[in-house]
């Protein structure tokens, strides 16, 4: 066994670039995914049949197919029809569309987890459905939604590594590059695994702290 990290420090800048790319990609994708997911969730809960069908179908398809296949369809499949995007854009499109499917379910279940009695109480006081949603239901649903959304961010931070297959210069791709110039496979991979781990660990800790703060006032 020969483990040799001595050739690694000179590529620090590459790892840092990859790390920044990964974080950027994740933040942008989850942000777009959240907006898109809200729209999908509202469509799914809509009483208009066609809208709720489209919303449900979207969620089912996104969650029922592998992310890798989704990326390859956008990157390799669509150019056949003359639709071609640069790698960075493909990464963002694929990850945010994917994230939207999961976020939609997070939002929907967050809203539906609010006690139906809250809606009844609001309506009994003369509020319209949309007023009750806006002033009573949504503020309570956010408490359910935010922690799960943070969790989605952590998942996406790791899942985003898959965009390296289309040449997106994220953290995982940089490890492959370093590996190809140094002829060492194990060391760069262990380095990025450690970086991913630290990132998710720190973020999960922050998240549970934040969650605990949200919960105060909920119990006697």
């Amino acid at each position: 066994m020969n483990l040799d990290f001595s050739s690694m420090p000179q590529y620090t800048q590459l790892f840092i670039n990859g790390l920044i790319m990964t974080i950027e990609l994740t933040i942008i994708s989850v942000a777009i995914g959240a907006v898109l997911g809200l729209i999908v969730a509202l469509m799914k809960m809509s009483s208009v049949k066609i809208l709720s069908f489209i919303g449900s179908a979207y969620v089912e398809i996104i969650r029922g197919t592998p992310l890798l296949v989704q990326i390859l369809i956008i990157y390799n499949g669509l150019p056949q029809f003359g639709i071609k995007f640069p790698g960075f854009v493909v990464g963002i499109i694929a990850l945010s569309m994917n994230s939207a499917g999961y976020v939609a379910e997070i939002i929907r279940s967050g809203i539906q987890a609010v006690d139906p009695g809250q809606m009844e109480a609001s309506r009994s006081l003369g509020m319209s459905h949309s007023m009750a949603m806006r002033y009573v239901i949504i503020p309570q649903a956010i408490k359910n939604i935010l922690p799960a959304l943070g969790n989605e961010f952590v998942v996406m931070l790791k899942e985003s590594s898959i965009v390296s297959v289309i040449g997106f210069a994220d953290l995982t791709r940089q490890a492959e590059i370093v590996s190809s110039v140094t002829y060492r496979a194990f060391e760069p991979l262990i380095i990025i695994a450690f970086i991913y781990f630290i990132m998710t660990l720190v973020f999960s800790r922050l998240l549970s702290k934040f969650e605990r703060r949200l919960r105060t006032g909920d119990t006697r």
């Binding site: 109480a121 009994s124 006081l125 909920d218």
Partner: protein, 183 residues
């Protein structure tokens, strides 16, 4: 005044209400007693249109409320309801619970709504709890807050879903704390 005429309510195949008729005049107190599952709450929920009657008519102040043309949000403002489980808004303080509907629905300014709320809180003996969240209140306090919240819309009629608590051993139901807090 409330008049219920031949009210029927069916849940899929189970008919709970089989032609209930009743009339309550302003200021009158009506107590509905019955075993659990007999439809007491269902009657009240129908009068607030939280359940749609299968058959029959309901009139509030002479206006038929289970009519397609009826403005349900307007009618509900006239009918105060205190729920069996209170359904207080857990993310708002006591005073926030009371003032939300007057401010948003009646477009009352915050100051006026709070004055009314304080007056109601005094009336139900919760003045010192005005900044407390529902979770910090006891069962009885929650109930009184729910009454104050319903009355803040200045309804013509107020309802309470009564609690019947069976005494230990005797198996007989004793009506627990069912007073109308009308003005």
């Amino acid at each position: 005044m409330i008049r219920v005429d031949n009210l029927h309510k069916k849940f899929s195949n189970f008919e709970v209400l089989k032609g209930v008729s009743l009339e309550v005049k302003k200021g009158e107190v009506l107590v509905i007693i019955g075993p659990s599952g007999s439809g007491k709450s269902t009657i009240l929920r129908c009068i607030n249109l939280l359940e749609e009657p299968t058959k029959g008519d309901i009139y509030v102040e002479g206006e038929k409320i289970n009519d397609k043309k009826a403005d349900i949000n307007k009618i509900r403002q006239k009918v105060g309801m205190v729920f069996q489980h209170f359904n207080l808004f857990p993310n708002m303080t006591a005073i926030g619970n009371i003032t939300l509907a007057p401010i948003k629905v009646k477009k009352m300014d915050k100051k006026t709504a709070e004055d009314i709320a304080i007056r109601l809180l005094k009336k139900v003996g919760l003045e010192d709890k005005k900044d407390a969240y529902p979770v910090k209140l006891s069962g009885g306090q929650k109930q009184r807050l729910a009454i104050a919240r319903a009355l803040a819309m200045q309804p013509d009629d107020a309802f309470r879903c009564a609690h019947i608590r069976a005494g230990p051993g005797d198996g007989q139901g004793s009506l627990e704390c069912h007073e109308r807090t009308g003005e």
